[in-house]
């Protein structure tokens, strides 16, 4: 239906439509964006699912991510190998989770992954310190950073292990109705 395009088969487009929050047109547009990041590396014909990954440095230069202080962590959280190399599937996944229609729980899971710098399933004090420094571009003094991290853990930690587990994080997210609108990138 519509214009005949040869990038994906119809079956592939249906699969993408069912598994992400994008429509066919948006998937094709995303492929266009992915392709223009590295026109020599990315094939135009995806009908047989080529195994092509773009490195972190290319993805992070996209205008939507360039100024974001968490850009490296965002791309790393969605990459299979953890180093930030994204295949097209992972690229679509990233923007699908960050799109308007993704539900709160899905966004919370990935937000937790993004803020967990040392990938240990907890937001410990170091993670929070790093997050703060990236947020405020190191404008706060170290004492203030320390104080803020302590207070944050104090406020959000429910089971008393001095770190924020995913359950604590999710509980806090339910109290922030703006989370859905801030954790959103328009592509």
């Amino acid at each position: 239906m519509g214009n005949k395009q040869t990038i994906f088969t119809d079956e592939q487009l249906d699969a993408y439509q069912d598994c992400t929050f994008f429509t066919r047109k948006e998937i094709l547009r995303l492929h266009g964006r992915y392709h223009e990041l590295a026109p020599h590396l990315v094939p135009m014909d995806y009908t047989n699912d080529p195994d092509c990954k773009l490195p972190l440095a290319l993805i992070v230069n996209m205008p939507e991510l360039k100024e974001n202080p968490f850009r490296n962590r965002i791309v790393e959280s969605f990459s299979e190998d953890g180093m930030g190399n994204l295949s097209f599937n992972e690229f679509v996944d990233m923007f699908s989770v960050l799109s308007e229609m993704a539900p709160r729980e899905l966004k919370a899971i990935y937000a937790f992954k993004i803020y967990d710098f040392n990938v240990d399933n907890y937001l410990c004090k170091e993670d929070l310190e790093k997050t703060l420094n990236k947020l405020t571009k190191e404008e706060l003094t170290p004492e203030e950073v320390e104080l803020v991290c302590e207070k944050t853990i104090e406020e959000a930690d429910l089971d008393g292990d001095n770190k924020l587990s995913y359950a604590d994080f999710e509980n806090m997210i339910t109290r922030a109705p703006d989370f859905l609108s801030t954790f959103h990138i328009r592509i």
Binding site: N89, L140, T152, G160, N162, Y166, H184
Partner: protein
Amino acid sequence: MARSVNFYLSAPLMEAGLESPIDEEGVHDSFSQLIAEQSQNGGVPDAFELQQLQRDLDEEGQDNVPYLPSPGPEYRGRPEGQTGTEWEDNDGEMDPLVGERWSSATMKILSSMPSRTIGRSRGAIISQYYNRTMQLRRRRQTRPAIAGSYRAARPSIRGYGIESDTTDDVAASKRDRLVNNLQNLSGGDRVRMLRAIPLSVAEKRELRRLALQKEHRTQTASRIPCCSQLKYYIIIAARQSWYSWLSFLHSLQLWQVALKRVSGRFGSGVLSYFLFLKTLLFFNLFLFLVTGAFLVLPQAVHPPAPSIGRRSFSGLELLTGGGYFSDSVMYYGYYCNYTLRKSCQEDVLVANETRSNCASKHHSYNMPLAYFFTIGFAFFITCIILVYSMSKSFGQSFRIDKSRSILAIKVLCSWDFKVIKKTSVKLMSENICTQLKELLAEGNHKQDEKTRCQKLKRLMVHGLAWAICIAGSIACALGIYFFSDHMHQNLRQTSRFVPKNPLLNEASLLALPVVVSLMNQLLPGLFNLVAWMEDYESPTIRTYVAISRNLILKVSVLGVLCFHWLGRVATEPESIGLQCWESFVGQELYRFLLMDFIFTLLDTLFGEFLWRLFSEKVLKRKRSPEFDIPRNVLDLIYGQTLAWLGVLFTPILPAVQILKLFLLFYIKKSSVMMNCQAPRRPYRVSQMHTIFISLLCFPSFLGASVCVTYTMWSIPPSFSCGPFRGLGTMFQAGKKWMEELEKDNPNLSLLARAHSYLLEHPFFLFVGAGIFLIVIYFHSQVVDGQRKIISLLQEQIENEGEDKKFLITRLQSIHERKRTPARRQDSNY
């Protein structure tokens, strides 16, 4: 669910020097699965004990390990030693969990507790979603295909797919069971579930492929009767058409690029204004489609006999809406009060006999009825859409418990990912920094006890400010009341004599709209000035106060205007020489809408553009003005109220409003990009959105529909124009139709009688309203109950945390005790 944990090590494990204090057999089966997973994925084992553990686990083979997914990125296997040292650093803590030197096995087990792995390891995700799909299936009570159920399951439970403890089930992997569940869900549920699973897209595609493959296989294998197959095809076709409709809608992508630029530079706050504008545009589009299709088009195709004295076109019509336009399809007066029929004139020429055919043709269109029902239908659907979006927005932003984690939310949820411009990002960082410092300062010094004198002074300042604002609004309302009265008297005078200069008279009608729009733009400026001298505790309260003052002004202005139109003009139209008061009111609303637009333009020009130049050149300030979101949104709501008021009298008014909103979007967007800067104060998007939608629904739409209902119910329509001429009230058109129906078809007399009984006795309205209030009361009680439950659950979670700490310390101490005698034994040898 919890099995008893054996505190004593079993002999073979002890001999192997195993560190794990937990009896492997007693462990919950998900532990063993996860332990095995991690032991296979595990990173560099940096302790001899870890290697031992791994070897013994592999040896034992007691792990009936089902399908083990490939290692995900989240298990890069951080060596446990690191977590240990991190905990060691916090020696000063009183917390028993921290500062202890846990054995690596304990830490391994701790980190693989189910609550820690939700959303992280693939196995845990798949189990979690398997449980969810099971719950969804049970809720939907779909009967799974017979071919999919397990042969070993008891027949009574075959239909529910309940997990049975047969060996077949243990052999089937969790993934296969998830696929089975997915297959058994309906199409829409499956898609929703697939989208929500936090796995990578590649895996989701694989799950989907397996689910659909199985479905195809079961379909072909079981030879479904052809009607189910037909149903299947219909469902597939429906889904495809729904997707193509969605694609089409998305491809329209109204203003997608513009919105992205605005959000990239200003963030979610300013974006919300433009999204609100887009929402209003769609409301008006819907309204226009309905009135256009059912009112304007039929009447335009069958124009009534042209009236005498039709004036020629002069340019002033575009502003005043009168003159040439007054006798056009724009206004109520043009519409016929008879049933439109296809023109019979050419048939008369052919033969006289065909005249009878004319009357019996079913191309007839009862104009009064159509007018009545179209307006009613449009309002009804708008009401439903508004209430639905209001409740959805309310549900998203309403929080049952008072938020006490303000700092945590500020740190983790306040970064706006939409902002992509470098300067805006810098500004946002600065804002967050400032807000964090403020929050810290607040927390540190706890509210300074203000002296009584200071409190009194603050109260007085607030009281004075409110007095000024309310006095301003009342003065404005009174001013409009007297000015409109003055205009009314003027019209009375001029209607007695032949007008010397009709154009001047037309232009004088513009005076009232100009005055009202001027007041609407100037007074909020006064309110801002007054608010500047006050001192508010939080920016949220300041915003609420500004919104309420602005609202009071607009409500009073609109109230006075409605009184003027419905109470003065409509009751004695002949005194000002009007044949058709509805058309006059329609023209007034057109003028008001237009003047509102022009003054908004002027305000944008002066308020934003010139102010920026002024502050840069003269005041030498670096900061540009901020975009005042609440004020602009209230202006939009005011314009929309006028449009809703005017639909009855001017069916084309939604089209005018559409054009106005369209132009306004581009003008505001260029002004914002050129002149304004991002707001400094935090802006709660979802809360504000809820407030604005509620304001759109309650004062605005409710007020407009009350006015329209009052007009239709009580005010007698003009005698000589419009579709309701000659009737007592507009409402009687419906009544007349029921009577005609009854006459034509006596069987419907019961319906007609019920209809008239319901309408004439307001008792049922009271009963309905009473039931509604009772339902609301019950729901508020439910919310209170839920609040209590939430606090109880939080206490429970804290207790569980304490239990866990206790158990871990006890286990560790027991393990230590067991280990030291063994070591002593070893050292003795």
